[in-house]
Symmetry: C2
């Protein structure tokens, strides 16, 4: 059936399932080092730039600050990251990796590469590049920040 065909190709479902399966595979591999995909994502970003506050990191990760706060709670508890009071802003913390985290960066990278290799098997470099460009466009289209200011014509509805 044409409907069935459309269904199997439904963009949202396919995108979501691909992302979920990739996370699952990454988590299976990364369990040996005691980290999850989301936690690795934090550590990777901190490895690029330490000292960000939570709001900034949440923005980079395209997630809500509260979601990141919970994630950081677990990571701090497990000794991967450290919150240091921001001397210039009593509300904020600055985020740093711990000494424990630095040695595992390479293993995280290896897990990432291996997982990506499985996910992209049989896809040419040109197609990989193209797919990533397109996904970046999708992300940009859906991002709150950076896009148009979201008209949200719900006038009359109080938040």
């Amino acid at each position: 059936m044409a409907q069935n065909h459309d269904f199997e190709r439904a963009f949202g479902f396919v995108l979501h399932e691909a992302a979920r399966l990739l996370s699952k595979r990454f988590d299976q591999k990364a369990r040996a080092i005691g980290l999850t995909r989301a936690q690795c994502s934090v550590l990777f970003r901190l490895s690029m730039q330490e000292g960000m506050n939570q709001a900034r990191l949440a923005e980079l990760m395209e997630m809500e600050p509260i979601s990141l706060a919970r994630l950081l709670d677990r990571m701090e508890q497990a000794g991967w990251v450290e919150r240091r009071a921001d001397p210039a802003d009593k509300r904020a913390y600055r985020l740093y990796m711990t000494a424990k985290a630095k040695p595992v960066l390479e293993r995280m990278l290896a897990v990432g590469l291996e997982t990506r290799g499985e996910a992209l098997a049989g896809i040419s470099q040109a197609d990989r590049d193209r797919m990533i460009d397109l996904l970046i466009q999708v992300r940009r289209n859906l991002s709150e920040r950076g896009g148009e200011p979201q008209p949200r014509d719900v006038a009359g509805v109080r938040a």
Copy 2:
């Protein structure tokens, strides 16, 4: 920095963030009808074929049976789906939409189209088709079923 460039283009992060943002947007729009993206996914599949058991539906949705069971708990509670005992197998249930669910199918479709439109804005039809083909390939690569039997050469590492 080249490293930074690689980072922003990291396949796993981009894929995950795009999928999450799309889910979020869908959920925001679908809240008015009292359904989530995952629940809509179930209803869409049941609208194509009712009477499946949970194991079969979980397989179609590329998820673990227990995850689906929980999802169905909430949906049954909310009156969207019905579990009927399978006369031929006392372990299994057969899944059906309720009368309440059928009238909202069209609204779900509309929400899906609208959300997809936002996500794919500025992307040509050819590129959309290509991206979906590539995502389907990724999903197939990562699927437990249908793929190769997963060598799992982690010998030596204990989980």
